[in-house]
Symmetry: C2
Subunit: 351 residues, 2 copies
Amino acid sequence: MNVFLQTVNSITGSDYAAGVKAQERLDSLTKPPASLGVLEKIAVQLACIQGQSLPVLGPKVVMVMAGDHGVVAEGVSAYPKEVTPQMVLNFLNQGAAINVLSRHAGAKVVITDVGVAAEMEAHPDLNLRKVRAGTRNMALEAAMTEEETMAALEIGMEMAHREIDRGAAILATGEMGIGNTTPSSAILACYSDNNLASIIGRGTGLNDGGLKIKQEAIQKALQVNQPDAQNPLDVLQKVGGLEIAALTGVILASAARKTPVVIDGFISTAAALLAWKIHEKCRDYILASHLSQEPGHKVMLDLMGLQPMLRLDLRLGEGTGGVLAFSLIEAAVKIIHEMATFAEAGVTNKE
Amino acid sequence: MNVFLQTVNSITGSDYAAGVKAQERLDSLTKPPASLGVLEKIAVQLACIQGQSLPVLGPKVVMVMAGDHGVVAEGVSAYPKEVTPQMVLNFLNQGAAINVLSRHAGAKVVITDVGVAAEMEAHPDLNLRKVRAGTRNMALEAAMTEEETMAALEIGMEMAHREIDRGAAILATGEMGIGNTTPSSAILACYSDNNLASIIGRGTGLNDGGLKIKQEAIQKALQVNQPDAQNPLDVLQKVGGLEIAALTGVILASAARKTPVVIDGFISTAAALLAWKIHEKCRDYILASHLSQEPGHKVMLDLMGLQPMLRLDLRLGEGTGGVLAFSLIEAAVKIIHEMATFAEAGVTNKE
């Protein structure tokens, strides 16, 4: 509880004045004002976060949190839950999409078992921080106890603090957990007036029958648990998940440490939504990477006013969209540093 | 005329069978089918283009064509036409956005003066291939003669052939030309049933008055010249531009050489639209990088069935969106090469 309160209480907004100076510099560069669109917004946001008009680059880390979901017993996923530990091993063996894309991006992958429903063997690259071997079935009872929720949140915070202490300048969020679009949709349902069916998608590829089962499971979970939307910790505990809680912790800690955090797809964004409900100023530190195929993703991003950079129809998770966005964020920083000004280049500015 | 006919006549469709094999491999990798969305489509497209199920990477080049527009005399741009040669100098001095982003992407920038309305000094990095010092004012007469149009097309083809001969494995298109959203909108108007006003945008930042002038200039150009939409060369000649013609040549030559070509924003896509009308099979070789702020851009992309990867609200041109997409295309190739299969990783596949 100590880490949680200390972290949340140390979150403050980013430095708006540094962003104004960054925009002034961007406007002096040899391009029409705002013509680099989102790249300019990223440079300004990083300036605000770092409190300096010329933001700097540094080591990139993707925090992959793994956990299982009791609600999988209802039949909400196209894959069996054995795939969660198998994929964690695949991460450790460098064979998964997140490994390939992180190597491409020059980013480090940090993998944490916060709730896999299987015994994971010790491995130098695996952080064994299992709170519980998967959540309870939220269609029947609360997914977690309050203690489990806080433990998972604090593990995420501790892992983020550790990586930032070791030099990480930017984090991305990733996850592995068969069934985890189901709790993510349930979380969104607590904060959206949209029709429930419209915010529930096919996850890793449910057929029509599976989609119906998933909708019923979410409806049951909301009825049985009656999560209190006014209390994001209650939502997280009742219809969330261990890896989602850990990612919420990563995002809150990133904000507390004034470190930009790039969110991946639907599950990461559910974690961000809860982080934002816990402390709205953490929004200043979040960058949205891509728009997923899950129909609820846009709804979540719109709630927070976040604009995704990539439209790649991804629906994989793991942090894949997040690490793909690293290159764009680095491009934005290089733009503000390296472009010539109108004066330097002798180019006539707009009248 | 020789280069033009030889190039166009040698265009054939890409190798669909290689793409089927690439998709089979993608489906064997440790991820739900199609969950990497557009990245998978890119890998398949490159497999079709290269005629091998495992596409390979290679040197990247952005072809920046510069030219001026007589129609600027009508007042269609927020910037004076002196900015075209000034920006070409900025490119040569490495100070522009395209230089910064190409360094970031590891891409070479090839700059060609195909029609700048100023004498450009010789420079080792500048290809001096000026056809004419800017087009004529298309609001009063045809922008180019047939000979000028063919010359500019062939220069684009020759430059693309040269870079591919030197080892380029992928090209992107870029341009510099004050006023060139005006001919691009006029080209689109020949192929779209949309209301003219809805496909004309603010370019580099026109105010409402400027936008009205631009609309009137385009309307006049269409009335005076009566371009024949059935004949894309007629459209190009009457309401196009020298750098647009050169880019059309680059795209056609890329297709002829079975080399992927990444198109940038509105102007590049106008060139692609004409290339596609000249030979529809060149569509197989085109990748769309980003969706620009220009309202007509989506209309053009939809006409060709192209899906842009990035949503960055760019409206700069130069090839900036194209080179930003290089990293995503390389990521797609690495995915198909480096990810583990379900069998290799011992991961249970979907029932």
